[in-house]
C-alpha cells in the first residue's frame, strides 16, 4: 500500500498563480518531511490531500483512496494540524478537542476519554479546563496537535507545527512528532521551511519548489549531498586551503573559516593531518548540516527554470 500517490498533480489559483505544477510522487508510510520555501506549495498539497481544495488537474490518492471521490473515507483516518490559529479563545481545550473528536465520528464517551488521553500525551494538564484565549503559543500548538490526534488517525498532516515556538518549544514539539510517528506507527507528513528542523524528525524527505518536485528520497541521501565541514583556525587559513587543494579537496575560505564538502569520512583524516603538519592553531571543527539553501543552491533565487531542470530525483548531481 502506498501512503500517498500523486500523479501529475497541478493546482492553479485564480489570478494565474500555479501552486502545484505537475507533481508526481509516491510515498510509503513513515515520517515524511515536506520542505520548501514559503509559497512553494506545501500547504496547497496538504489541503488537496485532505480534500479541502480540489486539484486543477492530475490525481492524488491517500492510502489508495482517491481524494476527490473518497474524501470522506480518507478524512476519517487523517489528522490535520493547520499552519494558522484555529482555536476559539472562549472555549476550553477539553471541550474543543472532545468536540473535534465527535466531529470525527467518535461516540461521546470515547471522545471524552480520548481527549483526556491525547491532551496528556501532548503535555497539557490543569490548564486544559481553562479558556484557550489565555494560552501561550506553545500550549496552542499542543492543542492543535491534540485535535489532530484525538481520533487516532493513520496519517497525520502537520503544517508548520513549530510555527511561532521558541527553541525549547520547538524541541518539545519535534520530539512529540517524532514519538507519535515512531512509537505508535502513525504515518506523519511534516511540512516546514526549515530543513534543519525537519531532518531531526523525518526518515524521508520531499523537497518542492515553485510547485515542482525538487528531490525526494531517504533523509540520508540529502544530508550526504548537502553536508559540509567548517574548519576555523587562528591563522593560516590560506595555507590550509592550499594543503587541502593538493589532496583534491576544494576549499572555500571565508576569513578564518574554511568550508569543505564532505561526502564520506575521508576528508576528516586529511584535515586532521594537514592541520597537524602545518602546526596551525585549530579553533573548531564544525559539521554544518545541510540547510534549505543548499537544496536550492543550484538555481538562482528568482529564476525558477534551472531548479526545475533538476526536478527528477536523479542521483549524481554535484553537491556544490
Amino acid at each position: 500500500m502506498s501512503l500517498i500517490a500523486l500523479s501529475d498533480l497541478t493546482r492553479r489559483f485564480s489570478g494565474g498563480v500555479v501552486a502545484l505544477d505537475g507533481l508526481t510522487l509516491e510515498l510509503e508510510p513513515g515520517i515524511i518531511g515536506l520542505v520548501g520555501a514559503n509559497g512553494a506549495g506545501k500547504s496547497t498539497l496538504i489541503k488537496i490531500l485532505l480534500g479541502l481544495l480540489p486539484p486543477t488537474s492530475g490525481r492524488a490518492s491517500v492510502m489508495d483512496l482517491d481524494v476527490q471521490r473518497q474524501g470522506t473515507v480518507i478524512r476519517q483516518f487523517v489528522g490535520y494540524m493547520p499552519e494558522y490559529d484555529c482555536l476559539p479563545p472562549d472555549t476550553s481545550a477539553t471541550d474543543f478537542v472532545s468536540h473535534m473528536a465527535r466531529m470525527s465520528g467518535l461516540p461521546g464517551t470515547a471522545a471524552r476519554e480520548r481527549t483526556a488521553e491525547v491532551l496528556r500525551h501532548v503535555g497539557l494538564y490543569e490548564e486544559r479546563y481553562r479558556a484557550m484565549g489565555g494560552y501561550s503559543t506553545g500550549m496552542k500548538q499542543r492543542v492543535k496537535l491534540a485535535q489532530a490526534l484525538v481520533h487516532d488517525p493513520r496519517l497525520l498532516l502537520l503544517d508548520e507545527p513549530t510555527n511561532g515556538l521558541d527553541p525549547a518549544g520547538r524541541d518539545e514539539m519535534l520530539a512529540l512528532v517524532r514519538r507519535t510517528g515512531t512509537e505508535f506507527g502513525i504515518a506523519v507528513v511534516v511540512a516546514s521551511h526549515l530543513l534543519g528542523e525537519i531532518e531531526r524528525v523525518c526518515d524521508y524527505l520531499v523537497a518542492i519548489d515553485a510547485g515542482k518536485l525538487l528531490r525526494s528520497g531517504p533523509l540520508g541521501s540529502f544530508t550526504e549531498r548537502t553536508g559540509s565541514l567548517a574548519i576555523e583556525v587562528e591563522e593560516g587559513s590560506d595555507r590550509l586551503a592550499a594543503a587541502l587543494a593538493s589532496h583534491g579537496i576544494q576549499a572555500v575560505a571565508d576569513g578564518r573559516t574554511i568550508v569543505i564538502a564532505v561526502a564520506d569520512d575521508r576528508p576528516y583524516d586529511i584535515v586532521r593531518d594537514a592541520v597537524a603538519e602545518l602546526g596551525l592553531p585549530l579553533v573548531r571543527l564544525e559539521q554544518r548540516r545541510g540547510s534549505l539553501e543548499d537544496l536550492f543552491r543550484d538555481g538562482p533565487t528568482d529564476g525558477r527554470a534551472p531548479v526545475a531542470a533538476t526536478a527528477s530525483p536523479a542521483p549524481g548531481a554535484a553537491p556544490r
Binding site: K47, T91, S104, L106, A110, D152, E183
Partner: protein
C-alpha cells in the same frame, strides 16, 4: 534554556505516559452531524462559551414566555371570579392569535444575537478547516448549524404557546372540556412557530454565514427584519408609486410575511395596518414564508460549499 528531554523539567512536564490507539467504534458522518446539531443548540444558549454568553439568549427567551405566564395567571384569577370572570378572560389581549405580534421582535433579536455566534465564530477563529478535514461534508456542516438554530427558534416561539395552552386547559372548569376547546389551536400555533423559525432563522443564518464579524452580522440581521416593514408602511400609506407594487412589497418583508401568515393561520385580522391594507390572500403569506425559509437555507449551504478555507 531548559532541557526538555528530562521527565520532569521546571514546568513539571511529564510526557512519557504513553499513547494508546483507539479501537472503538467510528460512527462516521451521521454521528458527527448529529453531534454538531446538538452542539449548535447549546451554542445558541451560550453553553460552552462562558457565563456571560448565556445572559442574552435566556433573557430573550424568558421575556418571550412572560406574557403567556401572565395570561395564564390572569385566566386563573378570572375563573375564580365566577360567571363574570369569563367576560374578563375574553378581554385578555394575550391570545394565540395575538402572541406573535407581542413577541415577534424578541424572536428577531434572539436570531440577530445568536446566529452570528453560530456561523461567525468558526470563520473568525479559523476553525472551518478543522471541520472540513473531518468526516462531515460542507453541506453537512451548514445544515447541522442551520437546523440547530431553527430548532432553538422553534422552541423559543413554541414554548409560550404551550404555556398558554396548558394553562388554559387547566384553568377551564373541567380539564377534559378545556382540552376539547383548546386542541384546535395546537396545529395552528405549531404551524406558526415553524414558519417563524424557518424564515427568521433561515435569513439570520444566511446573513451571518457571510461575515466573520459579529457586529456587522447583528446590524445586518436587525436591518433586514426591521427596515422592510417601515418601507412597506410608507409605500402602503399611498401616493408613493404604484399601488400594486406597494401591495406586493409586503411579500418581500420577512416581518410582514409572518404577520400575514399569523393572521391567515388563526383567521384573525393582521396586527399591522400595512399588511391588512395589502389585502392579499392568506395563503400567499404562508407560501412566501416557506419559499423564504427554503431559499435562505439553500443559499446558506451554497455559501459553505464555496467558502475558501
Amino acid at each position: 534554556m531548559t532541557q526538555t528531554t528530562t521527565a520532569s523539567g521546571p514546568g513539571g512536564s511529564i510526557y512519557d505516559l504513553g499513547y494508546r490507539g483507539y479501537d472503538g467504534p467510528r460512527l462516521g458522518r451521521r454521528s458527527a452531524v448529529r453531534a454538531l446539531f446538538a452542539h449548535a443548540i447549546r451554542t445558541c444558549f451560550g453553553i460552552g462559551r462562558g457565563g456571560r454568553a448565556k445572559i442574552p439568549p435566556f433573557t430573550l427567551a424568558g421575556l418571550a414566555i412572560l406574557p403567556a405566564v401572565i395570561a395564564v395567571g390572569f385566566a386563573a384569577l378570572a375563573s375564580q371570579a365566577g360567571p363574570g370572570g369569563e367576560a374578563i378572560e375574553q378581554a385578555s389581549p394575550i391570545r394565540y392569535e395575538s402572541y406573535y405580534g407581542l413577541v415577534g421582535v424578541l424572536v428577531m433579536l434572539f436570531c440577530a444575537g445568536q446566529a452570528p455566534e453560530l456561523f461567525g465564530r468558526d470563520q473568525r477563529y479559523g476553525v472551518l478547516p478543522l471541520y472540513f478535514s473531518r468526516v462531515l461534508t460542507r453541506p453537512d456542516y451548514a445544515l447541522a448549524k442551520v437546523f440547530g438554530l431553527l430548532a432553538v427558534v422553534f422552541g423559543v416561539v413554541l414554548a409560550p404557546y404551550v404555556v398558554l395552552f396548558i394553562g388554559r386547559v387547566f384553568v377551564a372548569p373541567d380539564p377534559v372540556t378545556g382540552l376539547g376547546d383548546e386542541i384546535g389551536a395546537l396545529p395552528k400555533f405549531v404551524a406558526q412557530a415553524l414558519l417563524v423559525a424557518g424564515l427568521l432563522g433561515g435569513i439570520a443564518s444566511l446573513i451571518s454565514s457571510w461575515t466573520p464579524r459579529r457586529a456587522y452580522a447583528i446590524a445586518a440581521i436587525i436591518a433586514v427584519f426591521i427596515i422592510p416593514p417601515i418601507i412597506v408602511a410608507i409605500l402602503s400609506q399611498g401616493g408613493v408609486g404604484n399601488a400594486d407594487i406597494a401591495r406586493a412589497s409586503v411579500l418581500l418583508s420577512p416581518g410582514d410575511i409572518l404577520v400575514g401568515a399569523n393572521a391567515a393561520i388563526f383567521g384573525s385580522i393582521p396586527d399591522s395596518p400595512s399588511v391588512a391594507a395589502a389585502n392579499l390572500p392568506g395563503w400567499s403569506f404562508i407560501v412566501a414564508a416557506i419559499v423564504g425559509s427554503v431559499g435562505s437555507i439553500a443559499l446558506t449551504v451554497r455559501r459553505y460549499q464555496r467558502i475558501s478555507t
